[in-house]
């Protein structure tokens, strides 16, 4: 029993490290700054950035709320670690719970608290604005993401991520619920603080919640953000892209975790690509987009999915 728990813990840590590192490499690969110099050295750049941050001075802003300022990166890291527990990277690696999908969605909430605390704790105007913007992100993504995942839950008749992946053994959900995947990715962008929905940490407020962070604390935050993006993409791959199953036509000629990683990185690349080519939304525009466009489309998707489940019984 203890061996299984330890094995699961180390595997989860491995996935988190690989996923976060891969996201950092992908960010640099897609970045316009790397145009013309894309080489194998990009694989080592996240390590160099981490080493630089570890060497950097760890300063406190003047008159911070010390407890909130110091604990915010730890809350962020703890949130992504706890959320990673239920994301299945293979049939034998997940901590299977009956409500894994719901658990994952809910665990994105404390990350908002971490960002809000970071902004508030700096005791600065930009930090305050970032804190309030982070809270608006929670309002934007929670309902939209909840409705976006209902279709696969209905199709698999379970909230367990493992059951949802197993239900896609012969046909991925994206084939007959393409709108659902689009809704999920749009909602995921609200939750992962990436362009075009990155106002709490945007450069237009000098980094916002992360403006006063440096050194190890900033490294923790950046790692948490990278892992958060990876986990959200991995959950999307598990929910809509068949998880660890290979394409039905091709078959499982790669190991299950490799398929899962490839699909996750593909979604990460897609999200980053969309972010590069979309202007930043203001937080009011984001809320308007979430509640007036994404949510009604999610209702339509829910109705269509329900009808298809009743009629086709896939």
């Amino acid at each position: 029993m203890m061996e299984e728990h330890l094995r699961a813990a180390f595997l989860t840590l491995g996935w988190l490290t690989a996923g976060g590192y891969g996201v950092a490499v992908l960010e640099r690969w897609i970045s316009p700054a790397s145009a013309g110099v894309r080489s194998a050295r990009i694989l080592l750049q996240p390590l160099a950035s981490a080493a630089r941050l570890l060497r950097a001075a760890d300063h406190l802003p003047p008159h911070p709320d010390g407890a909130l300022f110091r604990t915010a990166p730890l809350i962020a890291v703890a949130t992504v670690v706890l959320a990673a527990w239920v994301v299945p990277f293979g049939p034998a690696t997940a901590a299977d719970t009956p409500i894994g999908l719901f658990y994952f969605i809910v665990l994105l909430g404390p990350f908002v608290v971490a960002l809000a605390n970071a902004g508030w704790g700096t005791n600065s105007k930009y930090g305050l604005v970032a804190s309030m913007r982070a809270a608006s992100h929670l309002v934007a993504y929670e309902v939209a993401l909840g409705f976006a995942i209902l279709g696969p839950a209905m199709a698999a008749e379970s909230l367990s991520l493992v059951r949802i992946v197993e239900a896609q053994e012969h046909l991925w959900f994206v084939v007959w619920q393409p709108l659902g995947l689009g809704l999920y990715l749009a909602s995921a962008l609200f939750a992962v603080y990436r362009r075009p929905f990155d106002t709490p940490i945007a450069g237009e407020i000098a980094g916002g919640a992360l403006a006063e962070y440096g050194g190890t604390r900033l490294l923790l935050f950046r790692a948490a953000l990278a892992v958060l993006l990876f986990l959200t993409a991995a959950a999307g791959a598990a929910i809509y892209l068949g998880g660890w199953h290979g394409p039905p036509v091709v078959g499982p000629f790669l190991p299950a975790p490799v398929w899962m990683l490839l699909k996750s990185y593909a979604l990460v690349a897609l999200l980053l690509w969309v972010g590069r080519r979309t202007p930043r939304f203001g937080h009011d525009q984001m809320l308007r987009f979430s509640w007036k466009i994404v949510l009604p489309v999610a209702f339509v998707n829910l109705a269509v999915t329900g009808i298809l489940i009743l009629v086709l019984d896939p």
Binding site: D65, P98, I99, F102, V106, L107, V113, L138, V139
Partner: protein, 534 residues
């Protein structure tokens, strides 16, 4: 089993501590976080009960709900971070935790004898025999020169900091002929006609000598001086040889006599600049407001225009109903709240002239006993703590009784595959019924606290005898200050004021236009009322 017990006790401690800290902190942001933490600990207990779905729902509802509550609190409250309360506590030199939390004033309020000795010490003429103090920490007192135990700075004679600069005849604090105002050693842009504390950092204001005794800041163009040591003058930027601070340009241009705060060469009143948002800020030169950074604007005169008066020639003055210190010669919008300005009438509470109103910052004008009472009254959580403890004990006892004696079945042990069935069984279980019963009791306790608090907040009937220094307050936290044998009458001066904003004056009871607190007789705050600015 041992691990489960350890987790249960740890989660219980976190839940109780979070709830207690929510009551004790004055930072609304932290209060919301503490409540969130308390509920998350409760969610952990649900995990221990293997009610995963309810635990996750608990996390979702409380993280989201508390975050939105924090958002609204920050938007709508005057002091969401508790900074104002902390600053007040610092001004009154109360011990306790630092920023963003409020602790009760310790011990008993000062006795009459202690108050008198403190008043004498405050108003006694400055002399080296009165002791030495630190410019940064006025609470540090010593009979002999030395170093401040807190920051290591050299101690200076009490109320005579110019003596530290070696001046042969430093201007006395009360010697208005030799002094052309007071300024802060750290913030030279702060100017005041009277002694007090710097509104930015709380340091004691030092007199600025009228004549150039060689210690005044250099006024020639191109000269630089040290904000802490005005006797240091250099012709180029650099560091102060005494303290290492960067030298700053000495203000006014060469040969130009800086505008006198009191009077110019002809003896007429010179321009005084004030901040539209903070009328207590007065300066004899334009510049940014030290509190909010807004540009200072010329004041109409050195004192706010009294209520009801009109300008020469019959022009009507306009004011804001919410901010009576805002005055304008023409209609428009209030710069603070954008309300339409209305003609000033005799019924509006006035903002008394600065020299008449007791200075809020510095706290020298409010008696220590009044300070103590105000702090006790504002710490409403402690007053309600016995009720909270009583309700908690009653709820816990009821919970234990329900668990022990109810006939309903308990939650089945072991994981349940069907989440829906598990929720149903849990809701109808003995523990949940007990929990819901305890929640009902807590609600009843809150309602009782509200009703009893309202009853306490009513002023006593005429002739009733109240304990000396007794403070009562309603559940909304409004404080009704009472002295022994003092009744809710305005007293001889007929002036009512706000405990938080002493510059607000009114002829009768009402609400403070700045913060909404009930006005109290000025005498109850140790203020003789003085001129109401009329």
């Amino acid at each position: 089993m041992l691990i489960e017990w350890a987790l249960f006790l740890a989660l219980s401690a976190v839940a109780l501590t979070g709830a207690a800290m929510m009551l004790l902190t004055m930072s609304m942001y932290r209060a919301g976080l503490f409540l969130m933490v308390s509920f998350l600990a409760l969610a952990g207990m649900f995990f221990l009960l293997q009610a995963d779905l309810i635990a996750v729902i608990q996390i979702m509802m409380n993280v989201g709900g508390m975050l939105i509550m924090i958002l609204f609190m920050v938007m709508m409250m005057i002091d969401p971070g508790g900074e104002m309360m902390w600053d007040m506590k610092r001004q009154m030199k109360l011990p306790g935790p630092g920023a963003f939390s409020m602790s009760m004033p310790r011990g008993e309020p000062p006795t009459a004898g202690e108050q008198e000795s403190e008043a004498e010490q405050q108003h006694s003429p400055a002399s080296a025999e009165a002791g030495y103090t630190c410019p940064m920490h006025p609470e540090v007192r010593s009979d002999e020169p030395g170093a401040c135990p807190k920051c290591g700075m050299d101690l200076v004679p009490v109320r005579d900091p110019a003596a530290a600069s070696g001046s042969a005849e430093p201007p006395q604090a009360g010697d208005q002929d030799a002094v052309r105002g007071y300024t802060c050693p750290m913030h030279p842009e702060v100017r005041s006609d009277a002694p007090g504390s710097c509104p930015i950092c709380g340091m004691q204001l030092v007199p600025v000598p009228r004549e150039d005794t060689g210690n005044a800041p250099a006024e020639a163009e191109g000269e630089y001086t040290c904000p802490m040591h005005p006797e240091v003058v250099a012709d180029k930027p650099g560091s102060c040889p005494k303290c290492g601070m960067d030298l700053v340009p000495a203000s006014p241009a060469a040969g130009a006599e800086p505008p006198d705060a009191a009077a110019d060469a002809d003896g007429e009143k010179a321009d005084v600049y004030t901040c539209p948002m903070h009328p207590e800020i007065r300066s004899d030169r334009p510049g940014p407001c030290p509190k909010c950074g807004m540009d200072l604007v010329p004041a109409h005169d050195s004192a706010p225009t009294p209520v009801g008066t009109q300008e020469a020639g019959g022009a009507v003055e306009y004011t804001c109903p919410m901010h009576p210190e805002v005055r304008s010669d023409e209609p428009g919008s209030c710069p603070k709240c954008a309300m339409d300005l209305v003609p000033a009438t005799s019924e509006s509470p006035t903002v008394a002239a600065e020299e008449d109103a007791p200075a809020m910052h510095g706290g020298h004008q409010m008696s220590p006993a009044a300070h103590h009472q105000m702090m006790v009254g504002m710490a409403m959580s402690t007053e309600q703590l016995p009720w909270a403890i009583g309700i908690g004990v009653l709820s816990g006892g009821s919970l234990a009784a329900l668990v022990a004696w109810t006939p309903w079945r308990t939650v089945p042990r072991g994981p349940v595959g069907d989440a829906t069935a598990a929720v149903g069984e849990l809701l109808l279980s003995r523990y949940m019924m007990a929990f819901e019963g305890a929640a009902m009791l807590i609600l009843a306790g809150i309602a009782a606290g509200v009703i009893l608090g309202r009853r306490e907040g009513r002023p006593p009937r005429a002739g009733s005898d109240s304990a000396d220094g007794a403070v009562v307050h309603s559940h909304e936290g409004e404080v009704a200050m009472q002295h022994a044998n003092d009744q809710q009458t305005p007293g001889a001066s007929g002036v009512w004021t706000c405990p938080m904003h002493l510059e607000v004056r009114s002829d009768g009871p009402g609400k403070c236009p700045k913060c909404g607190m009930d006005l109290v007789p000025a005498e109850s705050l140790g203020d003789q009322g003085g001129s109401s600015g009329r």
